[in-house]
Symmetry: C2
Subunit: 382 residues, 2 copies
């Protein structure tokens, strides 16, 4: 159905590492995809994203269809040329963002109509239009089916109804996508927090046959333990030989636990959003550079990462930039955070390849707990 090959080089417990080969280059998995919402990974240059270690980025159909418009991107040569990123791009279907527009959207069997958050203009997304935008107009290497993100909390009946709609839309997306040599289409498992629904959703998607399988509808308020439990339940129903993508996740600890459960791909706005809000991610958790304790800290954020933002600027300087609201503060922290996330993925890939992932995971948790303890004590100190 596609030339996208996924080669698993090593597995260690549930975790696995490998390479997803695309016509635009290879993606080392487990992979974290920086989010390029509006055709830019916020506050980074494309070459910084690449040098930080990202093999693939994510684009948002919702944002791009509103600005600059999908047809315009097509006329300008497609999303890769438009934004100067020649590696693989995965686009979401727009479903999640539209779903977030509570009160501004209307859902029917046919699809969803909504008003733009930018100018109030009316737009529509159907499964067919979502594929046209992603695969034909933006030129995504990997397109996602249109789905309905099941909210949390949600009754079983509502979760089933939503899941069934997403499955019907999956079939329509697959039909619209057809057979393509150089592009891939992923299905999205829904079903809320109900293990049997998740299993059924996965199985019925697998029966349709997709190039990869995403787990959607998590990180929407269900909490860390529930997310892990859902993954424990759903992953066994996904084919080992296809990539598994956990959408919209997450914090570093979420990535480690999801990799342990067999997830291969991630995306999240957290590293860039945190960077714009003065936070640096570390193995000990998020650090707020605005904190006065950094005012004269001459150490860099994390020289071992090798990223210039993490190595060549003191915390005191970044503290100053953040305090002053300077662009460079957001630029450096966003860059560091993307590099930190990529470095974390690289460490996980190496640990899996070398058969020591459980040791890595235990050490990571110890550091993460220490960081949380530090933050607790810091929050009660004067």
């Amino acid at each position: 159905m596609t030339v996208f090959s996924f080669d698993i080089a090593a597995a260690d417990g549930g975790a696995r590492t490998g390479v997803l080969t695309t016509p635009r280059g290879v993606i080392r998995t487990p992979a974290f995809m920086p989010v390029g919402t509006a055709a830019t990974v916020k506050a980074l240059y494309p070459d910084q994203v690449r040098a930080a270690g990202a093999d693939i980025i994510l684009g948002n159909t919702y944002h791009l269809m509103l600005r600059p418009g999908a047809e315009r991107v097509k006329r300008l040569g497609g999303l890769h040329a438009f934004m100067g990123w020649d590696g693989p791009i995965l686009t979401d279907s727009g479903g999640f963002q539209v779903w977030s527009l509570a009160g501004l959207r209307k859902l029917t069997e046919e699809g969803v109509t909504f008003r733009s958050h930018v100018d109030g203009s009316e737009h529509a997304l159907t499964p067919e239009r979502a594929i046209e935008i992603q695969a034909d107009l933006l030129g995504a290497d990997i397109s996602m089916q249109l789905d309905e993100c099941t909210p949390f909390p949600c009754t079983r009946d509502a979760a089933r109804k939503s899941m069934e709609l997403s499955l019907r839309w999956a079939a329509r997306c697959k039909a619209a996508f057809g057979v393509r040599e150089a592009q891939a289409l992923f299905g999205i498992v829904q079903g809320g927090v109900y293990g049997d629904l998740r299993a059924e959703s996965a199985q019925r998607l697998v029966d349709m046959g997709f190039d990869g399988y995403a787990v959607g509808g998590l990180a929407v308020g269900e909490g860390f333990e529930t997310m892990c439990a859902v993954l424990d339940g759903v992953v066994p129903h996904l084919p080992a030989e296809r990539p598994r993508y956990l959408m919209g996740v997450g914090k570093p600890v979420d990535l480690v636990e999801s990799v342990a459960r067999g997830i291969d791909m991630f995306d999240c706005v957290l590293p860039t959003r945190s960077g714009r809000h003065g936070q640096a991610w570390t193995d000990e958790g998020p650090v707020n550079l605005k904190n006065a304790r950094f005012a004269e800290d001459r150490e860099p954020l994390a020289p071992q990462i090798g990223c210039p933002a993490s190595r060549d600027y003191s915390k005191a300087y970044i503290h100053h930039l953040v305090r002053c609201g300077e662009y460079l503060g957001s630029m450096l922290l966003s860059w560091h955070n993307i590099a930190y996330y990529q470095h974390l993925m690289a460490r996980m890939r190496a640990a899996i390849a070398e058969g020591r992932f459980e040791a890595f995971r235990a050490e990571f948790h110890a550091r993460w707990r220490d960081g949380a303890a530090d933050q607790d004590s810091a929050s009660v100190s004067p």
Copy 2:
């Protein structure tokens, strides 16, 4: 008095080109100094500033004494180490920014007291403190005397009174600065728009003896013609063998006309401020990238400049970024503008060295007028 040597390699009419040698590297003149207000040239990385062709940057005493504080910068190794810029730095004295705080400042013979725009805290600047901050704490390669910026309009009596105060402060700054081998001190000519006052101010500063001479109190509303007339009057009173610095100027056309009158150094926030507001500078004037006519313009801003921001991104993409309020839009336009300004200075230096500055100046004016005409016609078209 100092090891700062200024070697004029060529002159062409009133214009001259040369090299100002400092312990931290050479400054090719005429030079444009990007403004690093709060220890950062806004939205640029230090290596971008350097690669764009800047030999020296400017730091603002006012901003740095408030945040992070001059003593703190000293403890952190000085301004160069703090901000990661190893080339020469010129600092202003803080006088101009304090002068801009109308209503929040109080001027006496001793100096000026003012309230911080950040937190309302009270601060004082005297000639002695301005030197201590610049030369001892920040570690500026070139310090500026504390002066009072004469407003426009201003009566002759008020302009003389203000000029006399600046001259007394100049003497106190020189005494406080003392004899330094590796740092320089510039005096500032005031006198408003009154040619005889300007001449007297210049002569009395020259009699005191400074390493360089700045022309202050221009670009404060007097207009282009008056600014040129003041320069015509004052430059002949400044020694040919010392660098001449026109403070806070300006638009590209201002730079060309001031170079023609013998100015060697400039600083201005315009390129970075314009960049944050969606404007790109060109020989034809400022271009507003937000304009709908760029929505599908696949051309880069100015590939001949050689700067990645000017060469590797389409106007359509930058238009999109600016419309979306994305960081990268401000980053690319600020970078392009700094590179454009540096490229303009390089072209002027080459034209002077090759004895064709008048031809360059005439061609520049022709393009500038064409641009103004385009903008006029654009502003009346639908």
